[in-house]
């Protein structure tokens, strides 16, 4: 397999080494490193890499200015910004300078590879590999969200969903549509006992305090909405695309069955002391 050349622009040797290390196990390779903007422009000209990772803080100019100079030489240059800070204004200015993806330090290997894969592929859309990477990101979001919302630690595992149905004997399923690229849907679900346990924890209600089924399902619906929103944000950050979530459709009852039809679907399961909190994520096939 031909390796894809990447120029790393960062004034920190540690960052450079970390990025090179992450890429070494993939079909990306670091073809050069630059520690300042002038050097970056020079190396870009001579090395002609397929992609550039750009730090924000450089000794002689900022990463946006450096990107602008590189794009003057090559208007098609593909640049991922990796910065400690990431805010709306930085992203807006970055986009104007032609940066197509924004990551925040510390960058995980799959975020980096996903972002690089995206920008070097002319077709900004998905591959199965990308979907697998999303699922890993979603698993991380689920674990973090459960900790911040419920204050609970969880063991998270992921799996490709086989079988044509998702079956929930009794409990709650919150279905949230994903629109944009990739298009799909996420379902957050759990059994009835887990629903009450999680809702009590979020509302900080004791076991003897009253909690109606409606209140409990409302809490789970909102939590699912937050988790799906964060998942969509992760995809948007990686790819600078516009994935949005629709308002939830919430099913409470018995023998809930949702078809896994014509979608590439995955299970993400978080084991907690309240029970299993699960997410089924499906992306449209063959777009």
């Amino acid at each position: 397999m031909e390796r894809i050349k990447v120029l790393v622009v960062d004034d920190s040797r540690v960052s450079c080494a970390m990025l090179a290390n992450m890429m070494s196990k993939t079909n990306f390779e670091v073809c050069g490193m630059a520690s300042n903007a002038a050097d970056a422009v020079l190396k870009y000209q001579t090395l002609r890499p397929m992609a550039v990772t750009m730090d924000m803080n450089l000794p002689d100019a900022d990463g946006i200015e450096c990107s602008r100079r590189i794009r003057e030489i090559d208007p098609d240059a593909r640049i991922v910004m990796i910065s400690a800070m990431k805010d709306a204004s930085l992203m807006e200015r970055g986009r104007e300078a032609g940066i197509s993806s924004f990551l925040q330090k510390p960058v995980s290997p799959y975020e980096l590879i996903d972002a690089l894969s995206c920008i070097v592929s002319d077709d900004v859309k998905r591959t199965t590999g990308l979907r697998d990477l999303y699922i890993q990101s979603f698993a991380k979001v689920l674990r973090q969200s459960l900790f911040s919302l419920v204050g609970v630690h969880s063991e998270v595992s992921t799996d490709r969903a086989e079988g044509s149905y998702l079956d929930i004997p009794s409990g709650i399923a919150v279905i949230i549509g994903l629109t944009g690229c990739p298009m799909g849907r996420a379902i957050v679900y759990m059994d009835t006992d887990t629903m009450y346990g999680v809702a009590r924890a979020i509302l900080m209600k004791g076991d003897d305090e009253k909690l109606t089924a409606e209140e409990a399902s409302d809490v789970i619906e909102e939590a699912a909405n937050i988790i799906a929103g964060r998942c969509a944000s992760v995809v948007n950050d990686l790819k600078d695309v516009d994935m949005r979530i629709s308002p939830p459709g919430t099913i409470v009852g018995k023998n809930i069955r949702v078809a896994n039809f014509k979608i590439a679907s995955y299970y993400i399961q978080a084991q907690t002391r309240f029970g299993n909190i699960c997410m089924n994520v499906g992306f449209a096939e063959g777009e």
Binding site: G177, T179, I251, N255, I263
Partner: protein, 153 residues
């Protein structure tokens, strides 16, 4: 919810269903529901974002679903909701929703739609809105499809 948002969905049904061999659907009932819709047996949920946000549910009995699936597959008998039948129904919801989206665009609402989620079973309620929304019952030639339309600008 604004009642004028119902027409693009009815128009879609009237335009699309005859192309697949159905009689021209007739509106038999229209009403308001609060927050939840009770699954009639097979419910297909589609999410909307951008110009309008919300959900639309195509809701029908298992018999109506089999009738629709069979008709879409050129009269092939459908004994149960197998993958073929699901495929037919998902395809129908895609066509209807895409057509409705085009109608909405003509009214100035640009929408994005999610993939449909098809649910089977009738022991449950689906909460699709936090307030009142509109429901339209359509007769597809002897079988009823309920359109639950909970979208807003």
């Amino acid at each position: 919810m604004d009642a004028k948002l119902v027409n693009p969905f009815i128009d879609a049904l009237v335009a699309v269903m005859p192309q697949m061999g159905f009689e021209v659907p007739k509106r038999t009932k229209m009403g308001v529901k609060n927050q939840t819709c009770k699954s009639l047996g097979v419910s297909i949920i589609v999410g909307f974002t951008k110009g309008l946000r919300g959900n639309v549910v195509y809701n029908m009995s298992a018999d109506a679903a089999k009738f629709v699936a069979s008709k879409m597959m050129m009269g092939m008998p459908v004994a149960e909701m197998d993958e073929m039948a699901q495929s037919a129904l998902s395809e129908m919801s895609n066509m209807l929703t895409a057509n409705a989206a085009t109608n909405l665009a003509a009214m100035g609402y640009t929408v994005d739609i999610s993939t449909p989620s098809l649910t089977v079973g009738q022991d449950f309620q689906i909460k699709i809105s936090s307030e009142n929304y509109l429901v339209v019952e359509m007769d597809l030639g002897g079988q009823i499809m309920e359109l639950n339309i909970a979208v807003q600008a």
